[in-house]
Point group: C2
Chain length 273, copies 2
């Protein structure tokens, strides 16, 4: 793998056995789309990382050093750049050592395969998102719920094995997001997206879409999603993913979604065809 590992300013070959990232998922991450060696949405990713670090009281490494290493690693390529920042090592059990420098890892991955222009098939996950306002919105490394949800359709006995994403509901029953993407639905001429104040992640592409469409945050139930005029998912790696199929429902590609994809391609050259 193409990765560089640091603790504070010092580069290491691998992660220490007592890193709190491994022990407790005590960290944050960002997954970014790079275009010709640059990360067009770097500032937005770093701002979210900083807000997560404030919430968890993790001291971030120097932004300039992380960016320098990231750009060097990217070496001019189109790729996915992942950044993990953990609380480093040390502390007694759960009690953090407030003076320990963070561990940070930049890694480079191939772009995902293009998804069909006409949209993707999506299923409902059984695994629910627990409600935890102190962790909601930030992109922390406690992701077992997403791992369990995503594993549902590797199960050969599962229905809809062709689904390429799964929608997750909160423990309270409202629809929140996909396992690795945010959700937008068009109803009565207006784009809506679930709030992420009780669970879910405040996606970088979600923020862009909200700005571009004027979408409103609103709690949505299953029926409101299934009876929407159009549905799409989005994230900062794959951009806008129109939903073509969910449960018994099928949607043709909606002209507003096509127009939004074109705007995204202008805003972020990594999403241009």
């Amino acid at each position: 793998m193409n990765a560089r590992i640091f603790v504070g300013d010092t580069r290491f070959d691998a992660i220490a056995a007592n890193d709190r990232g491994v022990a407790y998922g005590d960290g944050l991450f960002e997954t970014m789309r790079a275009h010709r060696g640059d990360v067009p949405w770097w500032d937005a990713h770093w701002a979210r990382l900083r807000s997560g670090a404030e919430r968890l009281q993790i001291e971030l490494p120097q932004a300039s050093m992380v960016r320098r290493e990231a750009v060097d690693l990217l070496a001019g390529d189109d790729a996915i750049l992942k950044l993990i920042v953990t609380r480093g090592s040390g502390g007694r059990g759960y009690a953090p050592d407030m003076d320990a420098p963070a561990t940070w890892i930049v890694s480079k991955h191939p772009l995902p395969p293009d998804s069909p222009d006409s949209g993707i098939a999506v299923r409902w996950c059984e695994t629910r998102l627990s409600v935890q306002p102190r962790l909601a919105g930030i992109k922390h490394c406690n992701r077992l719920e997403q791992v369990l949800a995503r594993a549902e359709w590797n199960d050969p006995t599962a229905i809809e094995p062709y689904a390429v994403e799964g929608l997750m509901r909160s423990a309270e029953g409202d629809v929140v997001c996909a396992t690795a993407a945010n959700l937008f639905v068009l109803r009565e001429g207006r784009w809506l997206t679930p709030p992420v104040d009780r669970c879910g992640v405040a996606g970088i592409c979600r923020a862009w879409v909200m700005g571009a469409t004027g979408a409103a945050e609103r709690r949505l139930d299953v029926t409101e999603v299934e009876t929407a005029d159009a549905v799409f998912l989005c994230n900062a790696v794959r951009g806008i993913l129109p939903v073509a199929k969910l449960g018994g429902r099928a949607w043709p590609l909606h002209p507003q979604v096509v127009a939004l994809r074109d705007r995204l391609a202008e805003a972020h050259p990594g999403f241009a065809a």
Copy 2:
């Protein structure tokens, strides 16, 4: 640190940058008290690990190999032995690679300092435990809630800075456990402990105490804890920790707790004075 890292049967010097333990907290752990190089409760720890591995669909390494490495690392000492098992590397994003061998880490740590015989001071944590039946009971590595709760009394502005443990409530308001221990209360001559089917961990020492006392599982509210005739915490590292102080309440050492500590010392020589 005194640690050994393996992926499957192969020993490594450190953890890979793309290990799913670091990325997602996608793993399980056990923390065990060793006595003269042996782990008296090994079988119970392994059984809990196996039940967690079934829940998360993680393939465990060979028990015999793990135990051999653990005993070799312990080298006859009294110590704490920690075992982490992650889902290893690989997969695409959250989707696990079902064929990847697990990463496992055994590490050896000094025994914690003895706590006062008369009991410890405990506080109420503000951080709540979210409700997630699919993860409740098992000792998985998504522990940010415990990290946040434990960090509450490093805050110099926090009340009761002398507290040595903190009690956590679930999002639903019932009292569940301490950040790193289970909870027992004596009411009307009967020992009670909260169930761990919605959040919390099914502790190894908790199971021993339930067997030894005939304690019943019951949801408890704050008042039921504060008005109990006796309260103690327990875990497999520190054994039984009588609670001497909580909020405005103080408890003298209860004779039943003294008797139970004596029984524990007979059952597990690591807890003998």
